[in-house]
């Protein structure tokens, strides 16, 4: 390697720019050691230490708010955008850990490595959010994915979990291949992997947009991202993986890593490919509609609540894509707000499912939920709040988030897209309501004797409820932050 380049890279080191993920990784490695010395089944202290690690990392991240740090020759930047997404991932990871301890004990997989793996996933997610170089993003994506492959297949004694892990690994590796190939082609055309550099090159030479290699590169890159955010038609892996993975991990995957993928996706498209904005908007229009329709309509026929939520998460990726179609300030910061809201409402819903699941068979049929509302009133009410939020009904945060996104679309003139979006919401009402129908309108078939609540999971549910209601009734402050974090 050129000695000058090395020198330049050394000069460009700015530890501040990667401080949050650095802190988190250090904690993760220490906790790996701690977990080596802790007995199987006695890992509660690792869980609590991980929560501490996340809180510390959260504060380190916050210190970069309105104080952007760039470093490593412009391949990493810790701006408000990255911080906002980092915080989403930290919240998602924290809620996951809170609901995991008792769950792992119940399932008999209380092993210490679980928690450091979540921390590494979060660190990877934070790199993705702050990467301004396609290679940094790729690194973050790999750290995130590899940890998640393990977590998805964490219950090695269960076929479903194995299937989930393996499926996620194969398809994930495949899509990463697409992404990397796209990066390579783009590098071949533009001579750089820096997002801003690509944009600059295209601005300087507009004709390059029609270059087949450029088109192929951009397409492959987008496919890689669309796979990660589970947008149709690249969503096929989601239901099986979400259903088979341990429930807290499913919750985590649908919130944290997905938000990170959206972050990188947004940075690449909005900064790197802004010269083909019109084409991309048209493309995303189709994808958003397709994703919403696929997610919502297939969710209609699901009998398993976990699988239904998997399809619903596809649909929600579709709503978020609407913000990207709008490509204006409101739509884009709407995505940020949406991701945060989605984290709370979806994690909350999954937290209730974690509690209701039976040992060994955590897949809940709708019939299995019958009468839950009477037998376990707190869980019933909590799940109702989350479901109303997922529907997008006021006064919950889900409404504010959808309002934000659709307002962006309408402002940008995509009125039909907004209409299709709200009609899709209307379709979603049916399958969310059906859970409530079972919880409250049907007589209990079981006594739910095995369902007991524990303090940590209750805390995660209460935090989620607080988030959903606060951002629903007073969305102003958080929307303001999302606005500051937007481009």
């Amino acid at each position: 390697m050129d000695a000058n380049l090395v020198q330049e890279a050394v000069n460009n080191v700015n530890w501040q720019a990667i401080m949050p993920s650095l802190v988190l990784c250090c904690f993760g490695m220490v906790l790996l050691l701690v977990s080596v010395f802790s007995e199987r089944g006695k890992t509660t202290h690792v869980a609590w230490l991980s929560v501490v690690a996340l809180i510390v990392t959260g504060f380190v991240s916050l210190s970069a708010w309105n104080n952007p740090q760039a470093g490593f020759a412009g391949s990493v930047v810790l701006d408000n955008f990255a911080t906002f997404f980092s915080l989403i991932c930290i919240i998602a990871a924290g809620l996951t850990i809170l609901m995991s301890d008792a769950y792992l004990k119940r399932e008999g997989y209380s092993v210490g490595e679980y928690y450091p793996l979540i921390l590494f996933t979060t660190a990877g997610a934070m790199w993705m959010a702050s990467g301004t170089d396609l290679m940094t993003i790729f690194l973050g994506l790999e750290v995130l994915s590899v940890s998640l492959y393990i977590l998805a297949g964490f219950f090695r004694g269960q076929t479903r979990s194995n299937e989930a892990g393996l499926k996620y690994f194969f398809l994930g590796a495949f899509s990463t291949g697409f992404l990397l190939y796209g990066v390579a082609l783009l590098y071949g055309v533009t001579g750089t992997t820096k997002i801003a550099g690509i944009a600059e090159f295209v601005r300087g030479m507009p004709a390059v947009v029609g270059n087949p290699m450029m088109i192929a590169g951009a397409t492959l890159l987008l496919i890689g991202f669309l796979f990660k955010v589970a947008a149709a038609p690249f969503h096929m892996w989601t239901p099986d993986v979400y259903q088979g993975a341990p429930t807290p991990i499913t919750a985590f995957m649908s919130a944290g890593p997905k938000a990170a993928a959206f972050a990188a996706f947004m940075r690449v498209t909005i900064i790197g490919l802004d010269s083909i904005q019109a084409d991309l908007s048209a493309l995303f229009w189709v994808l958003a509609v397709l994703t919403m329709i696929v997610g919502n309509f297939i969710a209609l026929s699901q009998k398993d609540v976990k699988r239904m939520l998997a399809y619903s998460s596809i649909a929600h990726a579709g709503y978020a894509l609407v913000g990207l179609v709008a490509w204006n300030e409101i739509g884009l910061s709407g995505i940020l707000f949406y991701m945060l809201v989605y984290t709370f409402m979806n994690m909350g819903a999954f937290a209730v499912l974690v509690l209701v699941g039976k040992q060994g068979e955590e897949n809940l049929t709708l019939d299995g939920m019958s009468g839950l509302g009477y037998k376990r009133p707190f869980m019933g009410v909590a799940l109702c709040i989350f479901l109303f939020s997922l529907m997008g009904l006021p006064p919950t945060a889900g409404f504010a988030a959808k309002f934000y996104i659709f307002a962006g679309a309408i402002k940008a003139g995509y009125i039909w897209l907004a209409v299709i979006g709200v009609l899709n919401s209307a379709v979603s009402l049916y399958y969310y309501l059906r859970v409530m129908v079972h919880m409250y309108f049907k007589d209990p078939q079981e006594d739910f004797g095995w369902v007991s609540i524990n303090a940590a999971t209750a805390v995660s549910i209460i935090i989620s409820i607080a988030g959903v209601l606060f951002m629903g009734i007073l969305p102003g402050p958080i929307m303001e932050l999302a606005k500051l974090a937007g481009f």
Partner: protein, 520 residues
Amino acid sequence: MADYLLSLMTFLPLLGMLFVLFIPRDNDGLLKGFTLVVTLVTFAISLPLAFDNVFAVSGGMHYREFHEWINIGNFFQMNYSLGVDGISLWLVMLTTFIMPITVLSTWSAVEKNTKGFMALLLLLETGMLGAFVSLDLFLFYIFWELMLIPMYFLIGIWGGKNRIYAAVKFFIYTAVGSLLMLVAIIFVYYYALQAGAPVAGGFGIDEFYKLNIPYHAQYWLFLAFAFSFAIKVPMFPLHTWLPDAHTEAPTAGSVILAAVLLKMGTYGYVRFAMPLFPDALQTFLPLLATLSVIGIIYGSLVAMMQEDVKKLVAYSSVAHLGFVMLGVFAMNMQGMSGGILQMINHGISTGALFLIVGFIYERRHTRLITEFGGLAKSMPVFATIFMIITFSSIGLPGTNGFVGEFLALMGAFEGGLRWYAVVATTGVIFAAVYMLWMYQRVMFGKITNPINEKLADLNAREIVVMLPLLLFVFWIGFAPNTFFEKMNPAVEQLLTQMKSRQVAVVDTEKPVIADLIEIK
């Protein structure tokens, strides 16, 4: 206190709900008693509105409250903006008035999970009052959707055999309409900003009223609003959720549904859809008037054929709301104020009818007309009250129903909807047929079923429930001016405003049916 009267009134039930959550679930009496007290206090708080003479003097909004609520730089601003005028005044009063009655009616009807029932009733009251007093469309939308949730559970948990189907249908019908309205609301907002409306105005209707939205936009916006409200009214052919919801809902749910929730739709037309998009209204007026008339005739004919008393009353609602809409679409003083008064009347008489159905259902656990007959002998007090309410529902002179229907029809007749009014008037005759025929079969004749002989007459509580309603049946019937004098200035202002905005249309050579507007 006047500064915060509306907020206090709107959120007191919500506060009460929070307290209800802390009452032990097996303490049935305390739960019902406490809820009754909360609704009574809410009614007491709202009473000064009814006696305030300011409504008779000026037609504008009074008791205004305004606070900035959500403000995100140049993105959007929503305000907490409340106010009440002569139109919403009586709907607010109807709501606070009907709630204690509803709670009283649950005394022996609701035994399962009383706590949840009372909590939901109170939440519902907040939603309804909030929707009537909101002057910011965003705020209105929040309250509008908030009403859905408690009603969904009231039908689904405490309803009849087919309750799940009815609850889900009710929810999805209403939500689909309102989601499209949401898109329209956002569109109007951005249009207003573009047209130079102040950002601080938020989604306030004051600013929106001033807009001159181009016709082709109005067309779609009106469709979205009108569709949403038409489902709620409900207008033919979007009414199919109503018979299901009414029939399956518990008595209290049916009463609120009939008395207040349906008025949301008609109120939505008067407050939002019509004045916001006066040009598009002209285009759709014939269609809407036709649907209203179809609703009247169709509702009456179907009601006539019902075996189930509750279903009969449910279909009669479709017909009655047709009269309301026809009066409102007449767009003149008589029609509009007749229509609005008819909203109140329908709340009182149909609410009372559902209570009556509840009384006999509690005694016999059936509502089939053939199961009854000769009840007048065993239940004389009940028979008298039922008779009066029946007359009120038919619209006999001297009762409230007459004043409202007569004015609505007269307004339509004079306001260019002449033939619509003529056809609609046959609905009055049909109403007499199905109501009296039903009354005759249930109350008169020989007692064929021995169980009916031993039925207990109304007890003191049930009479107390009905008395206030009877009072208003005659009050409105004999002295409607009490209500008109406070309603008219607001109606006049609304009509003038719509008329003045349509003048602008003449300038741009848009087709106008100008003779529809006759202001007296």
